[in-house]
Symmetry: C2
Subunit: 398 residues, 2 copies
């Protein structure tokens, strides 16, 4: 097929191809152990239960194959779920999306013109970078403490600056990539800062249901009396990625505008999937699944922390997540996890270099490790290989 | 939930809530007969076959519930399908989307900055309006002849004007809302105009597989030697809306940029659905389904044309589609299908007023009628009710 010579949009120039993706595409050997992805444990996804729910819906007839408005019973269930977490909302506040990423897209388009200021965490999920820096926003970054989460003084300073930011994106639980969670007190302060400075918060929360340790905490949205917090939820991690469903909690006055944005993007979410997910959650399969799933994740987190202690104790430091999928490992200053990535591929282990989670290629001495998608014995082997790479790199630098 | 007072983006001001949607929401009575929607025949959707395919995939294990790259066998099948229609392409040119609307979103963002000129047909699908006028484009409209499709002289004039348009969107087969199709000769000319003036064409083709009469025609893309035509396909009408899958055919050099745009919007399409749709198409269920489905559609189109002749002959004129879902009815000059809509609801029949398909509220004496989602006897009853409304309106105007 010929390549024409027309030019692309300004937006096309903002949005960069992921260099990390190119690196990962080199990692094709089947004997590579991956600590890189953000995949939940494949072998513990609730296949049989979800299949049963899909068949229940399909057995009712072909309406589930048609175009359809959002499925009200699922929206009702989500509203009740959010209320059980302390959020004052009802069905009118719930809008179903294709995962939390689509929520980020819709809200960023609703709130942000290119060139306007926004606030994101200095190390954050690449999908959050895409809807801010990737749309030509003037990005203000705030540091995130590895034990307590986003730094409140920096956040307030970023909110205070004129022009005021259009919004801030914050991950409350089991931060991607850092693994850290915010205390209830910090959540309360963040909601107050939002209303004090009139800066909307987009609370990106795909992970909170994956808590296996410590007390459950209300989302930032639970402290939001003034209506400045948009909450994004997702079934991708708590049920399965391929259902491609998530939700926005927003003021009901904004739902019509959100609806027309969504329609312009891709019309709607599959009614078959919405109905099957509703059967799954309303018949109690979700609760059963999370008990099993989080036990598996906890065992794997333990395996990763033990392996780090054994193979990298005294060299590296790391976060201690109480749930989610990720541990953040910091190597001595001067080491470069991006530079050592090809060596890691040779040693048959992969991870994500810290710099991939920043828009200015900092955090070069850090890396994100996933613990959810490898068996505990393979996690140990993977970290052992990783330690070999790091030791070699250290020997070179000395 | 409180409503905060932050302002929205410029884009949010472009994208208008559909007034038509508000009107349709009045039509809640169960005894209303709808000629309004664009729904394929619910009772003939291939439920059992698709269910069997879903279960085949699910029975292979939980990989189908995970994150995944696009499913290569489905992309291969689509490439072969496009080659069978005369398009020179292979798997590298195929990108899977959540329906053709997402293809419109991705391509419009790839090619268009707000304020830049684009070309669309004067009466066209509302989703095409959303990604052009709804993004603040400088929209140039070209008329579409009700027997031969888009007017080529007007198209060339719009292409010639400086600054050159960023792209033009054209529906080749069974136009929504007009029902008309382009001849092979016109398709060839359009591809040549695109390359002559360097204007990309977005060919939006959700309907071509729904042909029940006349010869199949190659898409505009088949005549595109210079690479200026982007083709958008969809499984929504040929298989079922709730699979939410479609595809883009594009130069392979642009696929990485399309991929990163797609990731930023909603990451990916469900691998479970992609695999199930692949089983459906590759096991021959699609061909069987279309034989049955198009026979049903033809019977319903015939019923609509007969009913129009019986109840509105001599008053109205209408198009004679050889496939698809829609007939376009033109009433005498001066009549107003928007104004008579509430009267139609009272008479328990609904349609879409022509003005809804224009960005300047013209075509006020026209309406779009769907024939695919009502039984033939109900189509006759619906048109009879519609004729009553029109006769009343005529009496008022006289």
């Amino acid at each position: 097929m010929n390549v024409p010579n027309f030019s692309l949009s300004t937006e096309a120039s903002y949005l960069k191809r992921s260099v990390m993706r190119d690196l990962l595409s080199l990692a094709t050997s089947p004997d590579i152990l991956s600590l890189a992805g953000g995949l939940p444990a494949s072998e513990y996804l609730p296949l049989k239960q979800y299949q049963a729910c899909l068949n229940q819906v399909l057995n009712r007839g072909s309406r589930c194959m048609q175009y359809s408005p959002q499925y009200a019973p699922l929206r009702e269930w989500i509203a009740a779920y959010m209320r059980s977490r302390g959020v004052d909302c009802d069905v009118r506040n719930i809008f179903i999306t294709n995962g939390a990423q689509q929520g980020l897209t819709i809200l960023s388009r609703l709130l942000l013109d290119p060139g306007q200021p926004v606030v994101i965490e200095a190390a954050t999920f690449t999908g959050i970078q895409q809807v801010t820096a990737g749309r030509g926003a003037d990005v203000r970054t705030v540091p995130t403490n590895l034990e307590t989460g986003v730094d409140l003084d920096s956040l307030e300073a970023a909110f205070k600056r004129n022009p005021r930011p259009r919004f801030a994106v914050i991950i409350p639980d089991f931060h991607n990539p850092l693994g850290v969670s915010l205390s209830a007190e910090k959540r309360h302060v963040i909601a107050d800062l939002a209303s004090k400075y009139g800066v909307p918060i987009i609370e990106d929360d795909p992970y909170s249901a994956l808590r296996f340790e410590g007390d459950k905490l209300p989302p930032i949205k639970a402290y939001d009396e003034a209506g400045y917090v948009f909450y994004l939820g997702s079934f991708s991690k708590m049920l399965a990625p391929s259902v491609r469903l998530g939700w926005i909690v927003a003021p009901d006055e904004l739902i019509p505008k959100i609806t027309v944005f969504r329609e312009s993007i891709d019309l709607e979410s599959s009614i078959l999937t919405q109905q099957a997910v509703y059967e799954f959650v309303s018949q109690g399969f979700l609760d059963d699944h999370l008990i099993c799933f989080n036990a598996v994740n906890q065992q794997r987190r333990d395996a990763l922390l033990s392996a780090l202690e054994e193979h990298l104790g005294g060299i590296a430091t790391w976060t201690h997540p109480q749930g989610g999928l990720f541990v953040w490992v910091t190597l001595p200053e001067g080491m470069d996890t991006w530079a050592m990535f090809e060596k890691a591929i040779e040693k048959k282990v992969i991870y994500i270099p810290g710099a991939a989670f920043t828009i200015d290629a900092t955090c070069r001495n850090a890396m994100r490790l996933n613990f959810s998608n490898l068996r505990p014995d393979l996690i140990d082997e993977a970290v052992s290989r990783l330690a070999d790479v790091i030791h070699m790199q250290q020997a070179v630098s000395v």
